[in-house]
Every structure is written in structure tokens, then in C-alpha cells.
């Protein structure tokens, strides 16, 4: 059995009565997500009011009302928005990177990571951290928007019909 990365995330998944839940030992959080019991999914859409920059709506979806506090949700989305804004910021640093890359005919990106990619890694870490600390105990799971083409933040809501077999 391979050690399971974030199994503590699912420590709270309760007994599910009706649907089949053969939740097999999987190799990653990703696989487990697909095989666990899912009640529904909520999709937080993009907010285009500031233009084409990557920003998500902070409007609280009604399906999450029973699960999580509005404040917490908004904070998460706002932090994500700030991180994406940092990635796409037009400033001296990004211009310098662009010009330098152009001078080397963009071959420099074979060895160097772009600023955007660095921030994406930060975002992935943040989402994993949020999942472990905040969302998993509430039976929710955030999906990194990059896996959905930066279109939506997918929140998976897991079934919560407990019969005390925790």
C-alpha cells in the first residue's frame, strides 16, 4: 500500500448508505477525489469585471450555505484572486523578464521557470493547504482552477449522511 498523501483529508467522510463506494487505495488525492462519494459540485465562475485578468467571483454559492461560513469562503477566493493578480501583474519585473527572454529568442525558458509558473506553484500549495486545514474537515474539496483551464474553481461537496461510524 503506497502511503497516502492527504488521507487525513478524508478522515471525516461518513458512512454512505446508498451509493456504492468502493474507495480503493489510490495513488493520489486526485484519484481519490474521483472515486469518493460526491453529492454535488459547485462551480465558482470567473469575474470579468476587471477585464481579462484571472479573477474569480467572491459571491457565496447557495449550495455551500450549510457547510461553510461565508467569511471563510470569501477569504479563500480573495487570496486566490490576489495570487493570480500577482502572477499577471504588469510591472517592471515582468517587463524585464519579457525583454530578457526576447533577447535570447525565448530559449531562456528552457532552463528558467517563468514568474507565472512560480506563482502557480504557490497557488497549488495554498489550495492543498486550504483543503487540508479548512475544507476537508467540512466535507468539501477545492480543485485547482488550472486543472479546469482557469475557468472555474470547482468545489466538490461530499455526502454527509452520518450514521455515526466515524
Amino acid at each position: 500500500c503506497r502511503p497516502f498523501k492527504s488521507i487525513s483529508v478524508f478522515g471525516c467522510i461518513k458512512f454512505i448508505k446508498y451509493e456504492v463506494l468502493a474507495l480503493w487505495q489510490t495513488h493520489s488525492l486526485q484519484d481519490l477525489r474521483q472515486q469518493a462519494a460526491i453529492a454535488s459540485k459547485v462551480f465558482v465562475q470567473r469575474d470579468y469585471t476587471s477585464g481579462t485578468i484571472c479573477k474569480f467571483q467572491t459571491k457565496f454559492p447557495s449550495e455551500l450555505e450549510t457547510r461553510i461560513e461565508k467569511q471563510q469562503f470569501e477569504e479563500t477566493v480573495q487570496t486566490l484572486n490576489n495570487l493570480y493578480a500577482e502572477a499577471e501583474k504588469l510591472g517592471g519585473k515582468s517587463y524585464l523578464e519579457g525583454c530578457l527572454a526576447c533577447l535570447t529568442a525565448y530559449t531562456i525558458f528552457l532552463c528558467m521557470e517563468t514568474h507565472y509558473e512560480k506563482v502557480l506553484k504557490k497557488i497549488a500549495k495554498y489550495i492543498q493547504e486550504q483543503n487540508e486545514k479548512v475544507y476537508a474537515p467540512l466535507g468539501l474539496l477545492l480543485t485547482d482552477p488550472i486543472e479546469r483551464g482557469l475557468r472555474v474553481v470547482e468545489i466538490t461537496i461530499f455526502e454527509d449522511r452520518s450514521i455515526g461510524s466515524r
Binding site: 470579468y48 501583474k89 507565472y116
Partner: protein, 412 residues
């Protein structure tokens, strides 16, 4: 328990991507389907430069300066780099919506539309967004099942929605979009420079050589010059014109697509909400802005691997699974009643299709749940290519795509 040999074929995500793109180098290269004109472009550039290096450069290097061919080489390499980068990179394709997302959007649309009387056409699927005090309409793409972000458009040739879609360029064999627009612009710019450079030095070469040995002799000695001059002459008009056009677009932060449709022109239409109203700022954003990553993840591994058993000797186990083969249209019910399981060790029983949990606790210590009650399963074979669930070890099964079949499942 026999060991069924399974050879895993590693499938990368690019193999399953919808759309009419071709992929090379195991997903690293992404192009449109029709590449004929791209090969022509390559041939013209490489051919003309080869002629230049063969005929003009030796003479000019000696007569004028050795810097001339050196600069030509640098320029040529830059042009090739930009061309290949434009052609081979992902222009900013937006992945299609997965079924759940598509359903979610459909439900939102239906909720927004309310009830429609029979016989009436449903209203067009448009979302209005306010950007910079302008109302921009987001259209729904029926192929990709998403509301297109602003400035995105669906390319019918590649059958993809592309972010900040400029145009589909057959000369580079790819769409030009957010991710490769600057490479495309630098390609046209550097190609213009190269064309002008070669054209100028062709004329200079002919002039100088004619002074030495006469005009007709020059043409006889360097026949390539004629071809080069012809190619350069016709290329000049088109490429330089194109560069000028794109410079104009960049300074206004517009795309070719918007320009053709006249999105921001005319008095009654709205002004371009994406422009910074400052030429330098617009240029900086388009050319020196952040390099956007590809959201396609072409080289990622598919989470479902198709096991193809290379050798499956007839054993009771296989007989058990194969005794009730799943016909294409039936998914037999898999009825489970028991505690929530994160890990379950299963053993096949010989009783034709029945699987009994062995009741052992998983030795994975982070698993809190264990199978406490023996449960009888009716073994459902999901519709996999081989029909056999992947076997990780002798009594260790992995089921794929199980949740997909949850709609078929009922309680007893």
C-alpha cells in the same frame, strides 16, 4: 490466485484531447491539421537564406565586411526560432467543459431563462458583463459548452476555443492567440527585417559586382540572386504590410478578430475596454507581459490507464469474471451495503462473479475504516476496454471510474 499480467500503456492527456490538432514529440508540439502551407513557409525562408549564404555572402564578406553574413545568420536563426515557437506552441486553447461543469451551466441558464412556451425558440445564450464601464457580451460556445471569456473565440479549423483569439494563420500552421501572439508578431517583424536585409544586400551585391564584371556576367555567376530578389520582392509587400497592421493592432490592444468584426469601431459601438489608452502601455502589455502557461496539460498522465492483459491464463478467477461478461448495454448492478470503505481488500471467490471481502484490515495505517461485515457483491464489470478491473496484487483490486456508474446503482 493467479497473476494476470497486465501491460500498462501510459496514456498522456494529449491523446484524448478533443479538437482537430495534431501533436508531435509526445505532446510537446501542437499544431493544426493542415500543415502544407507551413512547410511552404519553411521552404521559402530556408531556401532563400541558403541561396543568400551561398551566392552573396562570400563576395560581400570579402568586399565589404564580414559582419554582413554574421548578422544575417543571427537574424535567420531568430526568425526560425520565432516561427517554430509560434507554430509549435499552444495558442491559448481553452479546454472543454467536463460534463459536470456543462450541466451546472445548463442548469444556470435554464434557471435564468425561466419557462419557455412550447414552440418558442429559447433566447440566445448570452451573458452580459461590465468591463471598464462597457457592457461586453459573452457568448456561449455549443461545442465547448462554456461561456467564452471576453476576447476568446472558437476556431473552426482547429475546433477549439482560443483565448484572445487573433486569427488562424495557415502560414504558421496554427492559431494565433494569447500565448503565441508575441512570437507571431516578432516572427513577422524579424522576417520583414530579414527580407529587407536580403533584398538590400542583393541589390548592393549586384551593383558592386556589375561594376567589376558587368551586369550580365553577374547574373550568370550568381543565378540565385534573381530568385532571391523575386521572392523578397513579393514577400516584402505582404510581410511588411502585415507587420505594420499588427503594430497598429498592438498599439490599440485589439485583435485581428475584433478588427474584422468591427467590435470597437463605429460611433454607436462601445470603445475598446481592454486598451490602456496609452500606446506604450498597450505595446508593453502585449509584447512584454507575463508569459501565460498552457492550461491544457498535454503531457500529463491520464488518470485512467487502459490495462491490456498480455497473458491471461485461464484460471478460476478469470473464469469467474468472464462467466458473466458485461454486454455493451448492460451494467449489472453493484449493490453494496456496508461501512464506508477507503480501502478494501478483495478476494475473488470461485462462485461465478461473486466477490467477497476478505475482512482484513488494510495495513495502511491511515485508513480509519475497515470492513467489519462480510458483504456479498455482485461483481460489476465497468465498461472498460478489457472488461477486467486492474489488479494491483493478488487480492488487491482497483476499480476505475466507479462513480460514473453510480447512476446505475440502486439499493436492495
Amino acid at each position: 490466485m493467479s497473476a494476470v499480467m497486465i501491460s500498462r500503456k501510459v496514456t498522456r492527456k494529449w491523446e484524448k484531447l478533443p479538437g482537430k490538432n495534431t501533436f508531435c514529440c509526445d505532446g510537446r508540439v501542437m499544431m493544426a491539421r493542415q500543415k502544407g502551407v507551413f512547410y511552404l513557409t519553411l521552404f521559402l525562408i530556408v531556401g532563400t537564406c541558403a541561396l543568400f549564404f551561398a551566392f552573396e555572402c562570400p563576395y560581400l564578406a570579402v568586399r565589404l565586411s564580414a559582419a554582413i553574413p554574421v548578422f544575417a545568420i543571427v537574424l535567420f536563426l531568430f526568425v526560425m526560432a520565432m516561427l517554430l515557437r509560434t507554430s509549435f506552441s499552444d495558442p491559448g486553447v481553452l479546454p472543454r467543459a467536463l460534463p459536470e461543469e456543462a450541466n451546472f451551466i445548463e442548469m444556470e441558464i435554464e434557471a435564468a431563462n425561466g419557462s419557455i412556451q412550447a414552440g418558442q425558440r429559447p433566447p440566445p445564450r448570452i451573458r452580459n458583463v461590465q468591463i471598464n464601464n462597457q457592457i461586453v457580451k459573452l457568448k456561449y460556445c455549443y461545442t465547448c459548452k462554456i461561456f467564452r471569456p471576453p476576447r476568446a473565440s472558437h476556431c473552426s479549423i482547429c475546433d477549439n476555443c482560443v483565448d484572445r483569439f487573433d486569427h488562424h494563420c495557415p502560414w504558421v500552421g496554427n492559431c494565433v492567440g494569447k500565448r503565441n501572439y508575441r512570437y507571431f508578431y516578432l516572427f513577422t517583424l524579424s522576417l520583414s527585417l530579414l527580407t529587407i536585409y536580403i533584398f538590400t544586400f542583393d541589390i548592393v551585391h549586384v551593383a558592386l559586382r556589375s561594376m567589376d564584371s558587368g551586369f550580365l556576367n553577374t547574373l550568370k555567376e550568381t543565378p540565385g540572386t534573381v530568385i532571391e530578389v523575386l521572392v523578397c520582392f513579393f514577400t516584402l509587400w505582404s510581410v511588411v504590410g502585415l507587420t505594420g497592421f499588427h503594430t497598429y493592432l498592438i498599439s490599440l490592444n485589439q485583435t485581428t478578430n475584433e478588427d474584422i468584426k468591427g467590435s470597437w469601431s463605429g460611433k454607436n459601438r462601445i470603445q475598446n475596454p481592454y486598451s490602456h489608452k496609452n500606446i506604450i502601455k498597450n505595446c508593453c502589455e502585449v509584447l512584454c507581459g507575463p508569459t501565460y502557461p498552457s492550461v491544457l496539460d498535454r503531457r500529463g498522465l491520464m488518470s485512467v490507464e487502459a490495462p491490456s492483459s498480455t497473458s491471461s491464463p485461464p484460471t478460476p478467477d478469470n473464469a469467474a469474471t468472464k462467466s458473466n461478461p458485461a454486454t455493451p448495454n448492460t451494467v449489472r448492478k453493484n449493490l453494496y451495503k456496508g461501512p464506508c470503505i477507503l480501502h478494501l481488500r478483495m478476494t475473488f471467490s470461485a462462485e461465478g462473479g461473486k466477490v467477497m471481502p476478505c475482512g482484513n484490515k488494510c495495513d495502511n495505517d491511515i485508513n480509519r475504516f475497515k470492513c467489519t461485515q462480510p458483504t456479498t457483491w455482485v461483481f460489476t464489470t465497468p465498461e472498460q476496454p478489457s472488461g477486467i478491473p486492474e489488479q494491483l496484487s493478488s487480492n488487491h483490486l482497483k476499480y476505475h471510474n466507479f462513480q460514473q456508474y453510480s447512476t446505475h446503482l440502486t439499493t436492495t
